[in-house]
Amino acid sequence: MTLLAILGVISSAIYSGTSLLYATLGEVVGERAGIVNLGLEGVLLVSAAMGVAVTGLTGNPHLGILAAVLAGGLMNLLFGYLVITRKANQLASGLATMFLGFGLSALIGKDVVGAKIVSLPRLLLPGLSALPRLYSSLFMFDLLIFLVLPAAFLIWWLLFRTRWGLGLRAVGENADIAFASGRNPHWIRYQALFVSGLLAGLGAAHLAIAYTMNWTEYMTGGRGFIAVALVIFSKWHPLRAIAGALIFSGAVAFQLLMQSSGVQVSPFLLDTLPYLLTLLVLIAWGGNRKQSAPASLGRVYLGTE
């Protein structure tokens, strides 16, 4: 096995893990405010379709990213209207959002199925230009990859170092007490869901505009559910989410590595790895989990009427 093969594997792991990390970060923000969004899969699909459609229409991938991000935010606001204003059950509303995403994305993407689009330009990692071209081409990343780690740190800073984040987490722990201390749980939850949708949109944009570079129905292939699992795995913490996404993309990379060295491991079995690891971690934590999950996750805030 050559150095080149290993580097190639790492490079492809980074590519496949980026969309997942954005989506996981988004779900972390939502769940920290007490809202679990099972409709993430549908939100990702709509954003991806929107991104491809707008990129195809305008020929400008940056506009496509913008459209995908806005679509994600709007989808989450729609979901938020149900679970925040109408106080509906979060699991059922999430699944309804998933089905809406299936339908809406098929509609948006129907004219661009399989069409090739202008992809996001790739830039060389600074300082690597001296390398031979064969190597340096492996580290040509697009803008969204360069931004994903700063985004994780930004979310961490927002959640744990600002008043906004304190209020958001307070609502996720106990909305009544947050209300009593002068915060508006409904307004904060809408903000959290909107930010969460923007991040999901970024993830979908990277998946569709930079990674697969086209649109097919159900193209996210369960990434939304992986992200929901990774949020638990990362104990609702944005920085641990980086590790979670690395484990998933690591499984993909491992599979490629195995293939390149001639060992056959079923890709399907490797795909189950992130779920099984999350399960094991949950079991290992046992009772401790209660201290890390937001206390009122999934509960409806009924208000004070």
Binding site: L95, F102, S105, F225, I226, L269, I283
Partner: protein, 353 residues
């Protein structure tokens, strides 16, 4: 006599409430149809024509009606698979995975015991299917009963694992000589018999029988009473000597077994073979149907029927309007959104004091 008038007044109040509920749901459905009509209009399609076509192709002919029943059967079974555990306060989001494992084991039976006659093979497949689903549900139920992990999270995680195991088995070992993503067709003995030249098969009997059994057990047996007690207040039930943990594990496995039966019916009846990724969300649909009908057997039947009409209509939208099949999910989601948003069209009559 005062008591008599009181019961009478209460009876009229109850019938008025049912009438209001029916009216509310009808209005919600109309609203969903109107909103989807606007979307069709924006796409340059004729909504009235589309609805007439959908109605004609589903309820307008005997064959169309049979296709609605075909779509309804798995929804009925998966909805019961969610409704039963919900009676003891367990949230079974894992029907999708349990369905896959049931289908997987049933298919193994069909591919292995090809020499058996139908009267032996079909019951064996039913047993295997239920075993597969129950095994997949055992984990979440057990982990919940010892207070370790919430069943919602575990069953959701296992949902994503099951289809990959099925895909692994098909691509690696079971695929037919001509295909890579599906097994060879089952032998005729492994197929559920269909009725009168339609695609409605014996699983309809399973589904209706299950629904009646579910209603009877909940209403007239000791188990039903104890389950309702657990659902009402688990700690009080435990202190009254009801074996809480045994119920939690047992009922979760039972829900899984029912979901496995749905998987078995799909592979043995509808498909006649095992296909990788054959279900896109029918388990989740069962969750929504059970949730919308509050786990009530009659409600499950009605809601499944309506949803089946909508999903069957999707085929037609694809054929005559040139829209992707998945677009019908929008109508479905709109209806769900409107029900979830609980709009108040009518002021509810306050009981007379």
């Amino acid at each position: 006599m005062a008591q008599n008038t009181d019961t009478k007044r209460r009876a009229t109040l109850i019938s008025q409430k049912t009438a209001n509920a029916v009216l509310r749901y009808l209005l919600m459905l109309l609203l969903a149809l109107a909103l989807f009509g606007v979307i069709l209009l924006l796409l340059g399609k004729n909504p009235v024509q589309s609805y007439v076509d959908i109605f004609r192709s589903t309820l307008g002919s005997a064959y169309g009606f049979s296709e609605v029943v075909v779509a309804m059967v798995p929804m009925l079974i998966t909805a019961v698979a969610v409704a039963l555990p919900s009676r003891v306060g367990l949230i079974n989001v894992g029907v999708e995975g349990q369905l896959y494992m049931g289908a997987c084991l049933a298919a193994w039976g069909a591919l292995t015991f090809t020499h058996l006659p139908a009267w032996a093979l079909l019951p064996l497949m039913v047993f295997l299917g239920m075993l597969g689903g129950a095994a997949w549900a055992f984990f979440p139920g057990y982990l919940k009963s010892i207070g370790l992990v919430n069943e919602t999270i575990t069953s959701l995680l296992l949902n994503s694992v099951a289809p990959k195991i099925v895909a692994f088995l098909i691509f690696g070992f079971w695929h037919g000589p001509m295909d890579t993503n599906k097994t060879a067709s089952f032998v005729p003995a492994a197929r559920l018999p269909a009725f009168l030249g339609t695609r409605v098969d014996l699983s309809l009997v399973f589904a209706l029988g299950l629904l009646i059994l579910f209603w009877y057990v909940m209403r007239y047996t000791r188990w039903g009473l104890e389950m309702r007690a657990i659902g009402g207040n688990p700690q009080a039930a435990r202190r009254n000597g009801i074996p809480l943990k045994a119920y939690q594990v047992g009922i979760m496995c039972m829900g899984g077994a029912i979901a496995g039966l749905a998987g078995m019916s799909l592979v043995s009846g509808y498909y006649g073979l095992l296909l990788a990724n054959f279900s896109t969300g029918s388990g989740y649909m069962g969750f929504l149907i059970s949730w919308l009908s509050f786990g009530d057997p009659i409600g499950i039947l009605l809601v499944s029927f309506l949803v089946a009409i909508i999903t069957t209509g999707g085929n037609l939208l694809q054929l005559t309007q040139g829209l992707p099949y998945a677009v019908i999910n929008i109508l479905l989601a709109l209806a769900l959104y409107i029900v979830l948003a609980k709009p108040t069209f009518i002021k509810e009559a306050k009981p007379a004091r």
